[in-house]
Assembly symmetry: C2
Homo-oligomer: 319 residues x 2
C-alpha cells in the first residue's frame, strides 16, 4: 500500500486532521477538541493518538504514514521546531513541538505557522498551482500572509517573514493590534472593515447600516458588503476603500518579490466578484506605467481545508 501523509491544523477550539495520498488527494478527515488548557504534552499525546485512529479509520497502518505536517498560529523557530508562543495557547511557551510530535509518532514532522500552511496548500493544490512565485493573504480578524518564491515559502531571518498584514500603507494612521500605525490589517481585515463602517455610522454618516447597528448592536464585514451590493453609498465607499488598500499591498509586493499571482482567502472573500473586481481595478489604476504587468489576482480555492492540505504538502516535501 502506498504511503500517506497526515496534515494537522491547530486552532484555538479544534484540531483538524487530514489523511492524504502522495498526490495530496484527501483520503479522510476529522477533528478533535483542542483543549488548550491541558498543555503541550497532553495535547501532543492526544494528537498522536488521533493520528493512529484516523489512520486506522481509513484502513491504513501507522507504518503507512510517511510524514506529518502541522500548522498553528504562533511564533516559531522553524529551524529548531520550537513554538515560542501562541495567542490561542498561553501554556505553550518555548515548546519543542516538532520533536515532541516526532517522538510521539516516530515520523518525520514539520511545523509551520498557519498562514503559511494555508498558502502552501493553495500553492500545492489550489489557486496557486503551478505558480512558483505567488503571494497569499488571509482576510479575517487580522490579515495573514504567505510568500512563495521559487516554489518555497519565504521565512525570513527569524521566521517572521511574510507577515504581510503589518505592511504599513498609511503612515501615522490607524493603530494596529501589533503596535504599529497604518498597517494594512488596521484597514482592510474583515474586523477593520467592519470597524471603519461602525465608526462612520456612529459619526452620523447616512447609511442603511445604521439600522443594522441599532438592531444587532454591531456591524459585520459581511453587512458592509451586503449593503454595498444593495447600493448604500457609505457601505460602497467602505468596501471600495478596503479593495483599494488591498490593491496597494499587491502593488507593493509586485515591486518586491514580483509574484505572478495574488491569492486572497479568508472569510471576506465571501464578498465575491465585486470585491475581486474592485481590487483588480484599483491595482490596474495605481500600478506604474513603466511596463505592462502580467499578473493574476484571484481567490483561494480550498476553503477551510487549506490548512490541513498545506500541512500535508509540507510533510510530503520534507527533504
Amino acid at each position: 500500500m502506498s504511503k500517506i501523509y497526515i496534515g494537522i491544523d491547530i486552532g484555538g477550539t479544534n484540531i483538524k486532521f487530514g489523511v492524504f495520498d502522495k498526490d495530496l488527494n484527501i483520503i479522510g478527515k476529522s477533528s478533535i477538541e483542542a483543549k488548550v488548557e491541558t498543555g503541550a504534552e497532553v495535547m501532543i499525546d492526544r494528537i498522536g493518538s488521533h493520528i493512529e485512529k484516523i489512520t486506522a479509520d481509513n484502513n491504513y497502518t501507522t507504518e503507512d504514514v510517511k510524514a506529518v505536517g502541522m500548522g498553528s498560529t504562533g511564533q516559531f523557530n522553524l529551524t529548531e521546531g520550537i513554538m515560542y508562543s501562541c495567542p490561542n495557547m498561553p501554556l505553550f511557551k518555548n515548546v519543542p513541538i516538532r520533536k515532541m510530535l516526532s517522538d510521539r509518532t516516530s515520523k518525520p514532522c514539520v511545523i509551520e505557522n498557519d498562514a503559511n500552511t494555508a498558502c502552501y496548500g493553495e500553492y500545492a493544490c489550489g489557486a496557486g498551482q503551478g505558480s512558483d512565485n505567488m503571494v497569499f493573504f488571509t482576510l479575517g480578524t487580522g490579515i495573514g500572509g504567505g510568500i512563495i518564491l521559487d516554489g518555497k515559502l519565504v521565512h525570513g531571518t527569524d521566521d517572521s517573514g511574510g507577515e504581510l498584514g503589518h505592511i504599513i500603507i498609511h503612515p501615522g494612521g490607524r493603530l494596529c493590534g501589533c503596535g504599529q500605525r497604518g498597517c494594512i490589517e488596521a484597514y482592510a481585515s474583515a474586523s477593520s472593515t467592519a470597524r471603519r463602517a461602525t465608526e462612520a455610522v456612529i459619526a452620523c454618516e447616512p447609511s442603511s447600516l445604521k439600522e443594522v447597528l441599532d438592531e444587532k448592536g454591531a456591524i459585520s464585514c459581511k453587512d458592509v458588503f451586503v449593503h454595498a451590493a444593495k447600493g448604500d453609498k457609505l457601505a460602497e465607499k467602505i468596501a471600495d476603500e478596503t479593495a483599494r488598500d488591498l490593491a496597494i499591498v499587491c502593488i507593493i509586493m509586485r515591486h518586491v518579490t514580483e509574484p505572478h499571482k495574488f491569492v486572497f482567502s479568508g472569510g471576506m472573500i465571501a464578498a465575491g466578484e465585486p470585491l475581486l473586481n474592485a481590487i483588480k481595478k484599483h491595482f490596474a489604476d495605481m500600478i506604474w506605467s513603466m511596463k505592462k504587468e502580467d499578473v493574476e489576482i484571484c481567490f483561494a480555492q480550498l476553503g477551510e481545508d487549506s490548512g490541513i492540505i498545506g500541512a500535508a504538502a509540507l510533510a510530503r516535501d520534507i527533504k
Copy 2:
C-alpha cells in the same frame, strides 16, 4: 596562475572594468567611454577588446579569465540574457547582450541590473558580508533596490523584483517618474529630497536654504543635509522626513523578507551619521512591539566600486 574574473559596470557615460581574483580582491581597474550612440554590436566589441587589454595590462592572458559579469541599468530578461531596453542606451532594444558578450569573449557571462550588481557586491565583499538575508537601497536621482534571500538575489517573475523605489508609502501622494503616486522614490531619493526643500522655500517657508536657491538657482540634497546640520529648521524637517520615509520602507521589508541587515548606498549617504541615526530612530519608534527586532541598518562600504565588484562576484558564482 589562478583564474580571474572580470566585472563590468555600464553607465551612460563610461564603462568601468575591474579584474578580480577568486576571493574578489581587486587586481586592476580602468574605464572606457560608453559611446552609447554606436549601438550594441560596436559596444560589445569594444568591451571585448578592453577585457583583452585590461587582462594583459595586469599580466594575465585571456586564458586566465574564467567568467565575465556585467551590470547596467535597464529592463532585462535575465534567464535569456536579453536587454529589453535601457534609458541610457536608446539603441539597445531586445538585445541578446549576454550571448553577444559570451560569443565575443568565449567566456561564461552573466548580466544583471546595476542596483542588483551593487547589492551583490556589498553582499559578497562589503557591508552585507555574511548576511544571507539583506535588503539594499541606492539613494541617488532615484531609489534602486536589491534583495538577497538565502544568499541569492531576488529577481521576481519577470526580473522586475526588488524595485524597492516604487514601494508606495503615501497612497495618492507625490507623482513618481514611474507613473505611480506616493512611491518612496518620489519622497526620499536625493532628487526628491532636494525637490521637497525647493518647493517649501518657494512656498516661503523660512529657511537658510532660501539664499542657496537665490544664489545657485537650485537646492541640492547635499544642501539640505548641510543646512540641517547647521540647525536650519526647515532643512531639519525635510531631512527628518526623508529618514522617516526610508524607515517606513525598512519596516515594510522587515515584514516581507525579514532581512537581518539593511544597507543604504548612493550619493545621499554622504550625509553620514545624522541620516543613519535618524533612520534607525524612526525604525525603532514605528516598528511593531510584537517582538524585539534584531536588525542592523548601515551604510554601504564599497562606494563606486560596488558595481564592478558585484558583477565579478556574480561571474564567480555562475553555476
